[in-house]
Amino acid sequence: MEKKKKRLVLRTVILAVLALAIGYTVYGTATKEKVELVAVGSEAPDFTLVDLNGEKHKLSDYKGQGVFLNFWGTWCKPCEKEMPAMDRQYQIFKDQGVQTLAVNIAQTDFEVQNFVDRYELKFPVVIDKTKSVMTAYNVGQLPATVLIDPEGKVAKIITGEMTDANIASYMELVKPK
């Protein structure tokens, strides 16, 4: 009897392990395709980039402030549309401890400068020439916005175009209390 019980337990364990393995494989394959940006709640990868005025911006220097990190390109229509709204909200929130940082994906200084001049953007615009920040944040589709709270953790990720109201609520979210 004892032997029989042992055998049943052994068989159950083996079958369970195998079923789990198959389940994991199916699940893993199904979710593989979805490219995720950095995980919400995790530490936002630190980076340093230079803006159009030659000033360095290091993410960790903004600790204690919320950071509104926007990835964009001049060819991306939704990016273009949300830029003026971002600029308006930047003017409101910059004194409340929310920094806005726009990361352009490897375009020429000329194009970026031209764009900034046209829309009279006030917030710092940095260019990710080697696409290393884009890689670190695993950015696929533009625009992509990562909200970083004063502790340096990712609070929210937004892909797609945003309105004034959206941006205001997001900035509110990472405003230091």
Binding site: A21, I22, Y24, T25, E111, S132
Partner: protein
């Protein structure tokens, strides 16, 4: 479950076909057979013994070889369906367009094929479950058969019952003239000479060779399972990286998936065979055959504590020429030459000319990777770029738009200033198009004067930590298959009864042909009685009726 007590007094587990000790047939079926079923040496296949709880039922399902074979056949058919049309990853269309692509190119059949998910069959959940079930079947069936077989072969007795001996495929019986001891000695000597291991027990003898080959199938199954395990492990984050990046000549960029590393494309080389197109090539409309795809690169690494974006202190790791079949290997990663695009615009030259006199006031060269605002041509002439769109796509609210950031169709809004036109003239210039003059007729225009191109390399970034595991699985599989296929298990039982009668039986799991050669040798040497092949006799008997071997439960088995 009850034990089966054999006539010899040995207690066998339920389901045993041949007594573990003496070899007497225990089931009615075996008693009826002229030649016993020697698969697994008559041991109880475990699954067949218990069939109570749901777990046992599932277990028994997977333990069945019939189920295993069915799974193989289903997998085989499923896999073949996936080759009817190209799979999605070979189709050059974006995810959204794929459905339309199949419908366009392959018509209704393509549409159905796509809708059923057959265009991505190998990563479908059901195909994976199928392979998973095959793996379960391999594991369970091997456990159920391999372990009892191992025990049985390990605890083999030399002396077997007459009923066992007589039911082997090869049997022999007769008197020997020499005395028993002498005959046994001679057989033992000859068999040892032929590299059999010989055991004796009184007047009984067992000569055995190549027992390990019986374990071949189980070894190769272990290899297969390790291999499948390795494949599964690739889904675990960190074990497997598969990315691809495009790098233009002269560009340095971060390598996706390979944190902290940067690649600089110094030169892309495309060489072709300078041969005449011939035969098959003409038929396929190909004139030149590529000889070499190569990207000369420099690999850089950030210093230890550097963060993304900090490219000031990159350390050079190495220079390398990545070619097809010669990937660059570094830090567990491999970079492959996978694709290329030739001739992307890099620099454009324009002459500032007077429309009437065609006289040039100077040439400016625009580096599209870094255009400047002003170009001074001297003598009071200058050109200003007001707008640059790398991939011009029409106007929107009077503003020129760009489709991408890639210079596929560069367009410029120039402001030309000359001593003649100190106010400046504005001209919109697009490749291959006459200039647009939004502010009225100009005296001057920008004339295209040549361009400089650069190539782009498609590099695949791959890290596969499971490769060693897959390799080990493959090697174990090969070892198992080879020993299971190229060796065989041969056994000869010989018993001399007190009345001088010799009983002889032989078993081989495959390749009866070579066993018979051994038997002929030993029979001649020790003057043994002639043996007969009970199956051949069977066939000779049947031939007159239907002329063929009827299917039977094979004895030359695992």
């Amino acid at each position: 479950m009850e034990k089966i007590i054999c006539a010899c007094g040995h207690s066998n587990p339920y389901g045993t076909k041949l007594c573990e000790k003496c070899g007497r047939p225990l089931t009615e079926e075996e008693k009826q057979n002229k030649v016993v079923d020697m698969r697994y040496d008559g041991t109880a296949i475990r699954s067949k013994t218990y069939n109570k709880s749901i777990i046992d039922k599932i277990w028994n399902f997977f333990s069945s070889v019939k189920v295993g074979i069915s799974l193989i056949i289903i997998t085989l058919i499923a896999a073949s369906i996936g080759t009817l049309l190209p799979q999605e990853f070979y189709v050059k269309a974006s995810d959204i367009e794929k459905g339309a692509y199949y419908a366009d190119v392959y018509g209704t059949f393509g549409k159905i094929y796509y809708t059923l998910g057959l265009s991505d069959l190998y990563s479908s959940w059901w195909f994976q479950i199928l392979v998973g079930m095959l793996a379960v079947s391999i594991i369970v069936a091997s456990l159920d058969r391999g372990i009892p077989l191992y025990k049985s072969l390990k605890n083999q007795r030399v002396k077997r019952h007459e009923s066992f001996m007589k039911r082997q495929r090869i049997v022999g019986e007769g008197q020997v003239t020499a005395n028993a001891e002498e005959t046994l000695d001679k057989v033992a000597k000859k068999m040892t000479e032929m590299r059999y291991s010989v055991r004796r027990d009184g007047s009984a003898l067992l000569a055995e060779k190549g027992r390990f080959s019986r374990y071949g199938p189980y070894i190769n199954h272990v290899g297969l399972i390790i291999f499948l395990g390795g494949v599964m492990l690739r889904l675990v984050p960190g074990f497997y990286v598969d990315e691809s990046i495009w790098v233009r000549e002269g560009e340095t960029r971060a390598i996706t998936g390979m944190d902290g590393y940067f690649i600089e494309n110094k030169d892309f080389v495309l060489e072709t065979h300078d041969n005449e197109a011939q035969g098959e090539q003409i038929k396929q409309g190909v004139n030149v055959v590529a000889k070499n795809f190569q990207t000369d690169i420099t690999l850089y690494k950030q210093p230890k504590d550097a963060i993304p974006g900090d490219t000031e202190n990159l350390e050079k790791v190495k220079d390398y020429s990545i070619r097809v079949n010669h990937p660059l290997k570094e830090d567990g990663f491999a970079l492959y030459q996978m694709d290329y695009r030739l001739n992307e615009l890099k620099k454009m030259k324009f002459d500032l000319i007077n429309k009437e006199s065609e006289k040039s006031l100077g040439t400016l060269e625009i580096d599209l990777t870094n255009p400047k605002k002003d170009y001074d041509l001297g003598n009071g002439s200058s050109v200003q770029i007001l707008v640059y769109t790398p991939d011009f796509d029409g106007f929107e609210n009077g503003e020129p738009q760009t489709k991408t950031s890639i210079p596929n169709n560069p367009a410029f809004l120039f402001k030309m200033t000359t001593p003649e036109t100190p106010e400046g003239e504005v001209s919109f210039v697009e490749i291959m198009q006459p200039p647009l003059e939004p502010l009225g007729e100009n005296q001057y225009r920008m004339k295209f004067a040549g361009a400089e191109m650069r190539d782009m390399s498609g590099i695949t970034v791959r890290k596969d930590t499971t490769i060693p595991l897959l390799f080990v699985g493959g090697v174990i599989f090969m070892i198992g298959v080879v020993i299971g296929s190229y060796w065989n298990h041969r056994r000869l039982w010989l018993q001399i009864e007190p009345d001088g009668r010799v009983l002889m039986a032989a078993h081989v799991n495959k390749n009866m042909f070579s066993m018979k050669k051994d038997l002929d040798a030993v029979s001649a040497f020790a003057a043994l009685p002639p043996y007969e092949d009970q199956l051949e006799k069977e066939e000779a008997g049947e031939e007159s009726t239907d002329g063929g071997i009827n299917e039977k439960e094979g004895d030359n088995t695992l």
